[in-house]
């Protein structure tokens, strides 16, 4: 129960690394936003980082390719690579049903 409560309370922090307006990045942003909007109860917090503008952040965060979605918390940290088109798979990976 505590876990659930905790999870209910905890905000899922997501960060999406993109490369400007590249087609896959645009898709990924759209998909990520749809995901967060459809599940407001989950309490997602989405941060988008454009590596074309902030290249150094890729290095500090260990990003190899774009688009990459990183679940920062709750732990464990998780990375999902691609346009996030397969919503079910993404949700499954994020651990929310």
């Amino acid at each position: 129960v505590t876990k659930k409560a905790a999870s209910k309370r905890a905000v899922i922090r997501l960060r999406l690394y993109v490369a400007g307006n590249a087609p896959n990045s645009v898709h990924a942003i759209a998909n990520a936003r749809a995901l967060c909007g459809e599940h407001p109860a989950s309490g997602y917090a989405l941060e988008i980082v454009d590596l074309m503008l902030h290249p150094l952040r890729a290095v500090s965060d260990g990003i190899v390719v774009t688009p990459t979605l990183v679940k920062l918390s709750p732990r464990p940290v998780l990375r999902i690579i691609g346009t996030l088109s397969d919503t079910d798979a993404v949700l499954a990976a994020l651990g929310s049903k």
């Binding site: 490369a19 087609p23 896959n24 590596l51 290249p55 390719v65 774009t66 691609g82």
Partner: protein, 688 residues
Amino acid sequence: MSTVRELTRRLAEAEATIRALVSGQVDAVVDAHSKTPVLLSKAQEALRLSEERYRNIVETASEGIWLIDASAKTSFVNGQLARMLGYTVDEMIGVQMTDVVCEADRPKAALALLRERAGAAICEDTTLLCKDGSELWVRVSATPIFDADGNYSGGLAMITDRTQFRIAEDALRRSEARYRQIVETTSDGIIASDEAARIVFVNRRFAEMLGYEAPEMVGSELRTFMHGTGAEESSARTRASRAEAKRSRDGMCLHRSGTQVAVEITECPVMDAKGQHVTVVRDVTESRKLQAQLMASDRMASMGTMAAGVAHEINNPLAALMGNLDCIAESLADLTSGDEHEHSAEQRKAWVLEELKSPLDDARSAAERVRFIVRDLKMLTRSPSEDSASKVDIEALMESSLRMASNEIRHRARLVKNYGRVPLVRANEARLGQVFMNLIVNAAQAMEEGNAQDNELSVRTTDNGTSVVIEVRDTGSGIAPENIHRVFDAFYTTKAVGIGTGLGLAICHRIVTDMAGELTVESTMGVGTSFRVSIPIAADDAPAVGATVPPPPASLRGQVLVVDDEDMVLRAMKRILSREHDVVVASSAKLALALCAQGESFDVILCDLMMPAMTGMELHHELTCIAPDQAKRMIFLTGGAFTDRAREFLLDANREHIEKPFDAANLRAVVQDRLRSMTGGTGPVHVV
């Protein structure tokens, strides 16, 4: 444990990264070295587009495209190549390249592959095997492919279907071979020359004709092989219009040895190539020889035709001559016989002399007739080596021809002569006589025998200022218009087999043309035919001048030696000359020489030219050595049968000679002339 989890996670991430990369969901990759993201999308797009473009090219190409790997196995073919060979694309993948090449070409293909491995670009025609076993002629253009390390990794080949080319090429090759064979086996020389008249091709025959090898002649100017005027004409002809082409002309080519080859030349321009010419050269040496032989044989034929007529001609005056001589002999017998006592010897003598006068005149004129006939015969029998031009009296020549042919004319037509005052022309007398003879006999034979009063054979000579025109006209049946252009063709005759050779007019035409003259014909059916010979007047041909007769000078008496092997002639000459001179006779040159060697001296030596044992020429030579003064006094007698040497001898230093038969007056005149020319010189000459 957490390490294991961490590893598993990373592995999953790596796999996800790869999946995303593979599925094209990655935009950029962060370059580990520069630590900056590198955009993938543009490269991907460009790659996709260019790949699409290449695929398009490869699949829409009309050539077959074939990729092989390093072991010569097919790694790619386009649809076109598969279609050409009757396979599907998939069936061909992995197939060994050489297995698709027809067996005969496999060694060649293997070699080509080796060369390609070494880096050479290949372009070869070969035959491929289709799936159904049929063969396909193709051209293969192949280039090797090397990897980044420079190792051979296969080859790319473009395959073009050459079936149509090959069929066309084969047809072309066959046709070229056919024409080449024609050009190389023909008996004519064939030359192709460019616009600068330089030789680009000669066939073997032309090279042979002039003693060269064909390749030696290529590149030279055509006129270097032509002689004299032919060369100029040839280059002039090069510039001539096409309308003028295709006319044959006679010319001379130069053999390598420097000798000339008589040829007939036909030139025609190559229609679609400016200034290029094809020249056909025919060696006419043989045919010229043949022509000369034909001309000689025609002369023999005319002689045959004339022989009967001539015998007839001679027999008539001969009969008159013998008859008259018999009469004279009888009259002389009367004079000496003592049977008739009623007349005195003086009366008888006067009577007989009166009786002798007219038979003697008749015998003289009969003998004169025989002399003319023999002279005319000589005209026909002269050999071609006498074919030099001289000044010819047309009227005299026509008269003698008419006499020769009189037997042909007499029974067929009246003879009408109309001679204008014409200058002497420069021509070959014997040849021109042959022409006249032919025309006269032809004209006579065009008229039926028996109606001599109704038919007319007319000859007419006129001078039109530039030429002398001789016309021979008959009132025969005429020549049909469709045949008239053939009358000068060799072997064309309307006469019965065995009567004409069909060569007469052809030869006449040739003879007249050789004299730069013209022979033309006009004919109206039922009215008659007229042949016209026109011979140009040379600039120096003065009008005919009658022989001037010098006034008879006073007679001189001299010592005369007569040398002749013919006893009759010797006696006749002694009789003629004894009235005026002291005459010594010698029946051979040897005797004459002996006389001179003994110191006998003569004012005039009349000597026969042709004698057995020692000729007049030899006597002259001997005398020149032992008595040069006597040699200078020789006058030669000729019977007309000349050797070339004798002719030269007489022409040399213009030696004086008398032709047999001679008449008494003429003989005396010659001797007198000689004696007169020596008065004032040495020697015992007495005025009578």
